[in-house]
Amino acid sequence: MIHFVLLISRQGKVRLTKWYSPYSQKERTKVIRELSGVILTRGPKLCNFVEWRGFKVVYKRYASLYFCMCIDQDDNELEILEIIHHYVEILDRYFGSVCELDLIFNFHKAYYILDELLIAGELQESSKKTVARLIAAQDSLVETAKEQASSISNIIAQATK
């Protein structure tokens, strides 16, 4: 299974973290510090796998972002690479040629998309189209709710409550 997913920028800034196994806040910072030290220093034409604390970390760089996933020893590295690519493609479709800034400002949306892709550290949806459809459906749910909430009458009603 996938133990965690990290998105780290080339400068070592963390853009997204998702933990499927229990890690305390302290461990999380430590893990990220350790791994970004290992991964960011690797040259461009090396293999995408790093052995780390008895686990394997599969990473891939897209533009300025490193997508990293930590898996068990006997998991399939190539499959994980495909999952990473899958995720990037979905992000790309959702944001329209995604860039790091999209992820910075919509960090929660990146999470929601990841949640549709993976659950409990396993791939749950392999169709890009389905993920896009699901996310769109949920977004529209949110939109209608927002419209209601932001109407002036609503605010006044609340204020005078």
Binding site: Q25, L46, E77, L78, H108, E125, A149
Partner: protein
Amino acid sequence: MSGPSLMDSLFQRTLEDLIKGLRQQLIGEQAFISKALEEIRKEIKSTDLSTKSTALLKLSYLSSLHFHDMSFATFHALEVLSSPRFSHKRIAYHAISISFHDSTPVLLLITNHLRKDLSSTNEFEVSLSLQCLSRIANVDLARDLTPEIFTLLSSNKLYVRKKAVAVVLRVFEKYPESVRVCFKRLVENLENSDPQVLSAVVGVFCELASKDPISYLPLAPEFYKILVDSKNNWVLIKVLKIFAKLAPLEPRLAKRVVEPICDHMRRTGAKSLVFECVRTVVTSLIENDSAVRLAVGKVREFLVDEDPNLKYLGLQALSIVAPKHLWAVSENKEFVIKSLSDADPNIKIESLRLVMALVSEHNVAEISRVLVNYALKSDPDFCNEILGSILSTCSRNVYEIIVDFDWYVSLLGEMSRIPHCQKGEEIENQLIDIGMRVKDVRPELVCVSRDLLIDPALLGNSFLHRLLSAAAWVSGEYVEYSRNPLELMEALLQPRTSLLPPSITAIYIQSAFKVLVFCLLTYLMQRGSTASSMFPDNLPSAVSASVSYESFDDLSVENVVDATDTHGPTCTSASITNESIVNLLNLVELALGPLLGSHDVEIQERARNVLGFVDLTKLDLLNSSVQEENDSERKGAEASKTIELMHGAFSKELGPVSSSAQGKICLPDGLMLKENLGDLEMICGDIDQPSSNSFSFGSPYEEKGGVSFSNLQIKENSRQSNESTSLLAEHRKRHGLYYLPSGKSEMISNDYPPANDPMLLGNINDNADDLVKLTEESLTPKRKPNHAKPRPVVVKLDEVDEKPESKEDSLSGAVHDVLFGSEDIVPTSSQSNLSDMPSSKRKGKEKQHTDSHVESKENLVDHGNPSSRRRKHHSHGKERRHRSPRKKNAEERKDNGQKLKEKSSHRHGMHKSGQRAEEPFNFSVQTPVIPDFLL
């Protein structure tokens, strides 16, 4: 009213504002964040859910990307969760899944929220709560929500169903009882036509099977169907993983799946699937030659590929296949060696492992030569990686593959001269270890040590200090093999030794002491042999092997002490002349004199010992050599007696000490190991402090000044270590846990054993006999067959190899028990619902728990003794018979009979079937009997 006003909620900073603000802060980011946190703390108390949820969203941003604590908001997150709006729920669930953990206090309050959302009609709400549950489930949540999950497992909304399936894994893990409820539905989903659901189910089984494969063997037909029919690579990869776990358990299954797997391997273009096939074959279907050949063929394609990923994975696959089919590696040898100079350090390390796998006693010299050359050329990290793996491979199993120890020792010497070498410590251990274990290699060892000691350049490299200490010790201990002890003496006392740390200087001094005693004794003997042998009765036989008895014609040389000239040309000849002795003594005095003022107690003491000895002997020796008169002869005799005494003390051979030797020392009467030493600490606190800074009693290089003294020290050492670890030992005993094999810690702390336990050496054979009786099997393979080429005797203490293993077994046994226990439910689960589970049944199950416990232990212990095991099994069968009526109830309820019944019986397969068919117990433990369920 502490909440924010209307204005606050109207002008609340959104997440975007927060992020923008953060990005504008070039410096003082922390200040900005803490200000934002303050705002959030205020906003989150608002009664307006929109304000609250925005605050929560901002907080989860800061928590997940800037790692700020958000535990203060757990309750607020729950409040937001109760909002009817989807957008709020989404934020709340997200916040909860990143911040909750098993000990979060409000975890209990979430159960009802989750239950409500799990049964919501909005599939997205269900999805959110499942998502969250998969992350935060603990025992209570898993237990309370099992019915809801059970319902969702057959939901007609596939979107919900696949998530429920995925969550089941976590629920099983936390609350094994739920397996009884959900397992059947989970299995039914294996036949689902929807690829996503199928993928989820297979994923769950893949995880479950990786922990306890044997329980899932009865599902093999379903998996087989998927393997043959499915076109989905994601699913196929998972199914292959399951078969990789199942195939080793059931040979017939292995035969069955080989064909489809090979088909996939030939047909598919997806590299990930090919690799998974390869890995399945090389891990689990290793017996099947044609499949392995095909897989190795694919591996070769990987190896020659441009893609470094494939290269790396290819090498990894090879290293899996290496132990069984070495030909696969040797076929690709060229490539593997070439990869040693790859740009990618990971590939280099992988190929290094492979090269080490190729090593055997025939080619070890050749490969080591190649590798050492590589090490010379490569970067420091990899260089040390290479050296480390050479060292560990060669020392494996007490130097199993080394035949020519002279070569190996000189290799060690050579390795230590590689500029980047940081393996001084490991080489140190091996030098001493070989010295103690292999008698024949000592001359060469001394020669290598001499070369190391004499090179002043090495003293500058702090990584090599440990190694030099070994060299010093070796040349002191085995000085009788030295060609030129005087030269050794100079090397040991050279001025640059001041660069060494105190503990190692101490070893240098002690070694110098030994060499000095040896020189003096040789000198005396030479004199004795020329001048009417003074001590004809007790000439030590070990001495004089290398010393030529030269006629002593310059006895009357003037003995004016010339203290300044210490580096005279005295030590060119091997024989020891009067003049050289004088110079030697002067050298000692000159070199050690300043050390009397050393800050280090150890050094000071040892230097004083040596100088005292010199004082004691010098006058007599020189006097007696000048004029051979009768009165001074008496004095000379006294001095030589002292020398002989010292030599006697040093000449007792040190040997390796077994890691379990500590246990053989019987407890002295007055020694209380279990006593709490709290009071003592208070008393000793002040006394210990001053001495602890440099001088430690258990110093690894404790030397023996005399036999009785050394014995005393052993006792002291043991007492000390026993006291300090007694609490830990008791803790271990109580829990039946052995974090480390006992005695190991002792070995670590004493880099080389303080002295030989005489009883131990004497009784090695007896002990070995006992052990052989106990563990005949485990030992026999370790005994080497006779070599065509004579290999020097390597002193082996059987216990060293054997003891830790058995400890590890008990540990793994415990782990096994736990896993066995938690998965034990799986077989019985699919039979019935929770509601009609009588309590008596449950008790029965508990009994099974303990039973399996006992059984697994027996398997571990009883391997070598088939007859007794059979007897025990028999009794097990009886026990089971007692219980069987109770079980029958449940079994009868199953309608799809055979298959599921196996599920309940396969774990105890041998007992059950034996009992059913009245068969004799003629099967092995590891492979339970499984009737022909395969298609």
